[in-house]
Amino acid sequence: MSYMRRISSLDKIYHFKTEMEINAYHYTAGPIGTRWLEALKNGELKVAKCNKCGTRFLPPKLYCPKCFSEVSELESISGEGYIDTYSVIYYNDSGERMSEPVIIALIRFEGIYGGIIHRVKTDPKKIRIGMRVKPVFRRDKKGSIDDIEYFQPIE
């Protein structure tokens, strides 16, 4: 067999398809997160509360994101929030134009540290920062952030 010092022709280069997958990952949400998701399943939007420094925050964690004490409490809120920032998806990842643009927003709540990133259903022309919104839950809920179908503007 005789070879050039290097291969330049593309048809002499081998390529292989490969993957780095397993069937599925199953993620647990932690002691507070699990209770928070259970509340969502019941159609309730709650927030975590730190008993040490009083911070109320979303998403919930076992630790306070401000003072790092252990957190054990959830508290109910009205669910009314406002749009901190948003974006409208006009093209999907494959470069196809969306038949209906989708709005994704960061929603914050008065007096709550953090917030939720979620869909907002309204006319993309009307959406603006500061707009007040509330969650609309799905009928069939399973204990997921996706149990909220979307947020909608409060008239």
Binding site: F16, M20, I22, N23, A29, G33
Partner: protein, 393 residues
């Protein structure tokens, strides 16, 4: 690498913490990281706000199922807004985190660093965390042969047995010892009173590896507080000093080399010994935690570390030298075989154990003889990485 006469700043460990090691924990990777960090800080008498740097480690993203997982779990160590980076040398990661932490503090860049390792293997639930290991091979050659993880360790174990004339019974003694040691460890997942018979009678997975030769799949996290000398003096009368660090990586062509002896580990150990001024490790190391994901690895690693003559670690084990009350206690924690194996966290657990042993705080696990100098070691990648840290009272 120069010896430590060129290093100006001494580095101390002043606190350590662990989560439970369990097959499954409810907590998220962030929360596990937080628990271990919180416990280490509590021992050090510090709070998250006192920390200026976070150095973390974790094994493959394919366990937790989060791409760039260092960016994810670091929040639990209070990393947000602070210096943080994640190191990764496969199974060697756990001991490598404090190695990287050492130079961050020794350089003066960090004063009070949180050293943390996390692994959540249970997320890789379907079909099984072990399935992740299909992806550690050269994807174009070895992966095409459909290997499983145990193949490579069995290949190495069998080569070692053949070259050194070591029997399966000799090797099983390690599993028996470590699982028994772990009975005294509050975080242990796989502690048990078992016999050599039990190991030999357990299911053969890949001959010569039986089920009880292997450490379990685990969730867990571990943390240390590592600080500069002036800080250490302010917080404790009992700091433990980092006396030496070493690490070394062999070729990825693992089928092109001798597997009976870990040359890379000898080189890593020599680097650490040189820095710590150790010339005769068998005499100068008082207690050690070599990496034991499989029982034969403890023997293999003792030899690579120079804690036993080549092919003689099994003899020392038989003679009881490596028991907690022996002349050279090995894996008094219970090791990965007994405490569990959340990969990176398991390696850091070993460093924590040496820290507690040297402080005399290991409780029922405290070795009998007085200890001044201890060593922890981990190993990984395609049987090619050695990471070594030496601590001193």
């Amino acid at each position: 690498m120069k010896t430590n006469i060129h290093v100006k700043n001494r580095v101390a460990i002043i606190g350590a913490g662990l989560t439970l090691f369990r097959r499954r924990l409810l907590e998220t990777p962030q929360e596990m990281t937080w628990i271990a960090s919180k416990k280490a800080l509590e021992q050090a008498g510090m709070d998250f706000k006192d920390i200026d740097c976070v150095i973390s480690g974790s094994a493959p993203d394919t366990f937790d199922g989060v791409h760039m997982k260092g960016e994810y779990y670091s929040e639990g160590a209070g990393g947000f807004g602070k210096l943080h980076f994640r190191v990764f040398v496969g199974g060697g990661t756990g001991v490598f985190v404090p190695i990287a932490g050492w130079w961050m503090v020794a350089s003066g860049l960090c004063k009070k660093a949180l050293i943390v390792a996390e692994e959540k293997m249970s997320s890789a639930a379907d079909p099984h965390p072990q399935a992740v290991f299909r992806h550690i091979w050269d994807p174009l050659i070895e992966k095409m042969l459909g290997p499983n993880l145990i193949w490579i360790f069995a290949l190495e174990m069998h080569r070692y047995m053949h070259k050194c004339g070591v029997s399966k019974e000799d090797i099983a003694l390690v599993s028996v010892k470590n699982k028994a040691n772990a009975l005294d460890h509050p975080c242990a997942q796989a502690a048990a009173k078992i016999s050599v018979e039990d190991v030999l009678k357990s299911e053969v997975l890949v001959y010569p590896v039986n089920r009880l030769d292997i450490s379990p799949v685990s969730d867990g996290a571990a943390a240390l507080v590592m600080v500069s000398e002036d800080v250490a003096r302010r917080y404790t009368d009992n700091p433990i000093w980092v006396a030496g660090i070493g690490f070394n990586l062999d070729s990825y062509s693992w089928t092109n080399r001798e597997l009976a002896y870990p040359l890379y580990l000898k080189k890593a150990a020599d680097m650490a010994y040189k820095m710590a001024g150790i010339e005769n490790p068998m005499k100068q190391i008082d207690v050690a935690e070599p990496y034991d994901p499989f029982d034969y690895k403890e023997l293999h690693h003792m030899e690579g570390l120079g804690l036993a003559p080549r092919c003689k670690a099994a003899e020392l084990t038989k003679e009881g030298v490596t028991q907690r009350d022996g002349d050279l206690p090995i894996n008094p924690s219970g090791g990965l075989l007994g405490v569990g194996n959340p990969i990176a966290a398991a390696g850091l657990m070993k460093v924590a154990e040496i820290f507690w042993q040297l402080r005399g705080e290991a409780g029922r696990r405290q070795v009998k003889k007085p200890v001044y100098t201890g060593l922890a070691q981990a190993w990984g990648d395609l049987m090619q990485v050695g990471t070594v840290i030496i601590l001193r009272r």
